[in-house]
């Protein structure tokens, strides 16, 4: 096999194309609802393997060649965390699900009273910590390209060039599959599936190289153990401090790395997957580490002096002339690097958009202008963040150059994100932690980390040698490598010890000295006691919010359909019909949580807070929550459940009763209305016809009066027709004609008959949506559409009246929305518009023409019922809006 630069590029591109296909197929399956197996414990475990980056794939061998057994600490830490899942991980996952957590910044900010500054602080730490890590992946990809092509046909690859194009390609992939939409659950089936495939590829590749080295070059298990014993690298070098410290650090990083938190908590959707991952993940990393030492030992033995041990995995097959195996190893490393970058970028982009962009954006707006299009802004911010994060990684790669050992960059990142650990653990296990404490700990920890580890990593340009030697301004005790005079320690260990010690101390002390706000206490109780059954927590005690405003807000964040579903379901739960539930505290809390799934807890809280006036939660409310015993909790929870049930029943009964009395009253009103509606044209007819019978009228007058008589007679006929139609429909004697046709044609026909164009009403349609083949009574359906369109033409009071017709499908249902841009129908009258003779009291004056008798919508409702569908007023659309829903194919039984 002849390997050229071009083959390598072609193979990489082919591999990426395959990943695209996998991600695309998984996304499609998931959206079609057939994604069950996409969410198996196996896939979950494989997705956790993004812990093993290019650092593991290449760097571990280099690490082992330098420091012996120490490379294992990086994998032992996470293994212990997963084996001990019952302690921490299980709780994090449960909290993540209960609180709709989107990222680690969201979890910490949410725990400490949905605090915006804390979310931003965690985000900044994460960005600073992970940037070097992303740079490391770019470096490893370009290094391997270079190694591969060294001395080959086509010349040595340009390292910068490869890194740049890799970064661009990864940005495209991530934007395509990671930020396609704002998923309220923040789950990405396509990405998870692609990551799982990459996990298999890298494991297989490393095992293949290992097997080749042990049995092909090393002389089997016995031979390799012999070689290891004789090897020039001592396995145990007696550095106990680093052994313990690094194990702890990697365990901490496993929990706090944004990408690990993302796959571990955010993408998890079943506790039971954890039970499998608890042994399968340690097994995976064990297999990944198994052949590291043999490869290192054999590499030192057989490769020329001075070869970079970070590249042994690749160099061994190449030097032995196994091009295919080398290519496989290359793909393994490529997989490790790309999957890490993709997930890390998504996690960081989510954090940046939710915790930095969204709060900033909200703070520049007054409550009443809450976002014309929040959704679009967030998505845009997320895409820009993807680009930004990858650019930062590329810049860091450029600055540090490619001289640094892979493992040291990785450890800098670990120490950075580990600063989140005290706030995280303190938050979920200790109710006493406060936002001020968490903020202090995070700030101090991050500062110490930056001073002692991060900034020195940029080299002498950032921290000059004199500062390293003597401290800044000659302050001896501030030397980056010997803080407070603690000299002689390993620099990494020195940084980790000081930063985490000061971090945890500040967190604890400030928490003890400050008093939390009510919302912090509430959240603290919910997080720490997440396994308690009854959750009394309420973020909103009472509400002055108009539900319709909330609905408008929810539509802007979640999208129209999802928001209407949420509100409709809640209304049903409360025993109400329609789309507008009461804004009970429980509902507000649920709504806020749904919003939090898209924009993070802090932003969601701020959004809801802008609409819900009055204090969110008071100390009195907390009294009920705080100091509760388990008994009271359980007891009151059961009572609450019972009374909620009774309330629901009572409500349904009350509504039914109201309806009945209303019906009786309506029967009377109906008769008197019929009398009125018939007598009115009759009056004109009688009066004019007796005038016509007299002499002395001018021919012009006579002609005019005769025309009025005719018009009024027609009006009577129309009324009688409508009445007849309504009664036939109500008795169910109507026979439906089942016809096949296109929805678009039916709408065309209806708009023509309704005379919409004549009325100056602009109609907005989407032909693509309307290309739906339906099979129902098309004439009856057209009758409904005519009614809705002519109502809009008659009653829409906008300066430039518009009617928007939108169509979508859900299940076997076709949903057609008619929404105009007028002032809509006031809430109290929405209840009655579908009743007979319901002409609205505030009928626009200045239109005295004898129009319909107010039977139109009543007939529509009956027609839709016959067609097996429904018609309803759709709130929160700006103007008057109606939703018509019907089955795509009329059931045979209904005919």
């Amino acid at each position: 096999m002849i390997l050229t630069f071009n083959t390598l590029v072609a193979v990489s591109l082919g591999y990426v194309a395959m990943l695209f296909a996998v991600a695309f197929a998984a996304d499609r399956r998931a959206r079609a609802g057939r994604g069950g197996w996409l969410r198996s414990p196996l896939i979950y475990t494989l997705s956790l393997s993004i812990y093993c980056t290019a650092w593991t794939f290449y760097g571990a061998v280099g690490y082992a060649a330098r420091s012996g057994l120490e490379y294992l600490t990086i994998y032992l830490g996470p293994s212990l965390v997963m084996v001990g899942w019952w302690w921490v991980v299980r709780k994090l996952v449960r909290i993540g699900r209960a609180q709709r957590i989107t990222s680690i910044a969201d979890l910490v900010s949410s725990r400490f009273g949905k605090s915006v500054p804390i979310g931003a602080l965690v985000t900044l730490i994460a960005v600073a910590g992970v940037t070097p890590y992303i740079a490391l992946q770019l470096q490893s990809i370009s290094l391997t390209f270079a190694a591969f092509t060294e001395g080959l046909e086509g010349g040595r690859a340009d390292v910068d060039f490869v890194a740049l194009w890799t970064a661009i390609g990864l940005a495209v992939f991530t934007i395509l599959f990671g930020t396609r939409n704002l998923d309220p659950s923040e789950r990405h089936h396509g990405i998870v599936m692609a990551v799982a495939v990459e996990a298999v590829v890298k494991l297989f590749a490393l095992l293949a190289v290992g097997v080749f080295v042990v049995w092909g070059l090393g002389g089997g298990v016995g031979g390799i153990l012999d070689r290891i014993d004789r090897a020039p690298i001592p396995m145990w070098q007696g550095n106990g401090g680093r052994w313990v410290g690094l194990t702890f650090l990697s365990a901490a990083a496993f929990l706090t790395l944004p990408r690990m938190f993302h796959v571990l908590v955010v993408e998890n959707d079943d506790d039971r997957h954890l039970a499998v991952a608890s042994w399968a993940f340690p097994l995976y990393v064990l297999l990944m580490s198994l052949f590291v030492v043999p490869i290192a030992v054999v590499g030192l033995d057989r490769l020329p002096e001075g070869s970079n041990p970070d590249l042994f995995v690749l160099a061994l097959p190449i030097s032995e002339g196994h091009g295919g195996l080398a290519l496989l190893a290359f793909l393994g490393g490529f997989s490790s690097a790309t999957s890490m970058v993709i997930v890390a970028t998504i996690a960081l982009a989510t954090m940046v958009s939710n915790h930095i962009v969204a709060p900033l954006w909200l703070s520049t707006r007054r409550p009443d202008q809450v976002s014309r299009d929040l959704r679009g802004t967030i998505l845009l911010a997320r895409r820009a963040s993807v680009g930004g994060v990858l650019s930062l990684g590329y810049v860091y790669f450029q600055i540090t150059g490619s001289g640094v050992a892979l493992s040291s960059i990785g450890l800098i990142a670990f120490a950075g994100v580990a600063q989140i650990l005290p706030a995280l653990l303190g938050g979920v296990f200790w109710r006493g932690g406060t936002a001020k404490g968490a903020g202090a700990g995070l700030a101090i920890g991050a500062t110490v980390w930056a001073w002692t580890l991060f900034l020195p990593s940029f080299g002498l340009a950032v921290i000059p040698a004199t500062v390293l030697e003597n401290g800044p301004y000659g302050l001896d005790w501030l030397r980056p490598r010997a803080l407070f005079g603690l000299a002689g320690l390993d620099p990494l260990l020195h940084a980790v010890i000081w930063s985490l010690l000061l971090n945890a101390t500040a967190f604890t002390l400030v928490s003890l000295l400050t008093f939390p706000k009510p919302l912090e206490r509430l959240q603290g109780a919910q997080f720490v006691n997440v396994f308690e059954r009854a959750q009394p927590g309420r973020a909103w005690s009472r509400s002055g919010a108009e539900v319709e405003d909330l609905l408008v807000l929810a539509q802007r964040v979640l999208g129209t359909e999802a928001a209407l579903d949420l509100f409709g379901a809640e209304a049903g739960r409360q025993g109400k019909s329609g789309h507008l539930p009461d804004p009970t505290p429980a509902f507000l809390q649920r709504l806020e949580r749904e919003l939090a799934g898209s924009v993070g807890a802090a932003a969601a809280h701020a959004l809801v807070g802008q609409l819900v006036q009055g204090p969110g939660v008071s100390v009195e409310d907390l009294m009920a929550v705080a100091g509760e015993t388990a008994q009271i909790l359980e007891y009151s929870a059961r009572l609450e459940q019972k009374s909620a049930e009774q309330e629901r029943t009572a409500r349904a009964l009350r509504e039914a009763n109201d309806k009945l009395t209303q019906l009786a009253r309506q029967k009377d009103a109906f008769l008197s209305r019929i009398s009125h509606e018939l007598r009115t044209p009759m009056t004109a007819i009688r009066s004019f016809s007796s005038l016509l019978a007299e002499d002395g009228l001018s021919p012009l007058e006579a002609q005019r009066f005769a025309r009025i008589v005719e018009a009024e007679a027609q009006r009577m006929t129309r009324l009688l027709d409508d009445l007849l139609d309504l009664s036939v429909l109500r008795d169910g004697q109507v026979s439906l004609k089942r016809q096949h046709g296109l929805l678009a044609d039916v709408i065309d026909r209806a708009l023509l008959s309704a005379g919409v164009a004549r009325a100056g009403l602009r109609v907005l349609r989407d032909p693509g949506q309307e290309a739906v083949a339906i099979s129902t009574d098309l004439d009856r359906l057209a009758q409904v559409f005519i009614n809705l369109a002519s109502n809009a033409a008659k009653y829409c009071d906008a300066d430039r009246p518009e009617l928007r017709i939108s169509v979508h499908r859900r299940g076997g249902q076709v949903i057609v929305d008619f929404a105009d841009n007028g002032s809509g129908i006031p809430v109290p009258e929405r209840e009655v518009i579908f009743e007979s003779f319901a002409r609205l009291s505030g009928r626009r004056s200045g239109r005295p023409e004898p129009s319909g008798a107010g039977l139109g919508l009543a007939i529509c409702r009956e027609v839709m019922a016959r067609l097996g569908g429904s018609i309803a007023y759709l709130p929160g659309q700006g103007g008057a809006a109606f939703r018509v829903a019907f089955p795509q194919g009329l059931a045979a039984a209904a005919e």
Binding site: S675, H676, R679, P681, I685, S687, I708, E712, S841
Partner: protein, 122 residues
Amino acid sequence: MARRVLLIEDEPNIIEALSFILTRDGWTVHTHADGLTAAARVKAGSPEVVVLDAMLPGRSGFDILRDLRADPATAQVPVLMLTARGQEKDRELALRLGATEFMTKPFANAEVVAEVRRLAGG
């Protein structure tokens, strides 16, 4: 000087019919179609006779009648109430509220003219 009658009604064709027959009888006919401002219009125009429809947009004829009778300035104005519902309880309600006369639609042209004349004379 022609005598003035105020016609409070919202159906255009009925307005036309009544205007025609009353004008022919020598009345100056003013019309008003909105229920909300009807009482104020009566007060401002001080017509000899008011012809009031029971069903109006904004405010019902019965409510307008109650307003008229409650205001000393208009308490004595003769009111001929017209209704298309023609139920007995409507007639009772109208008379109790102080309508001078009550007629159901459809009406005979001659009867309306005769009633308006009688109310103006009495």
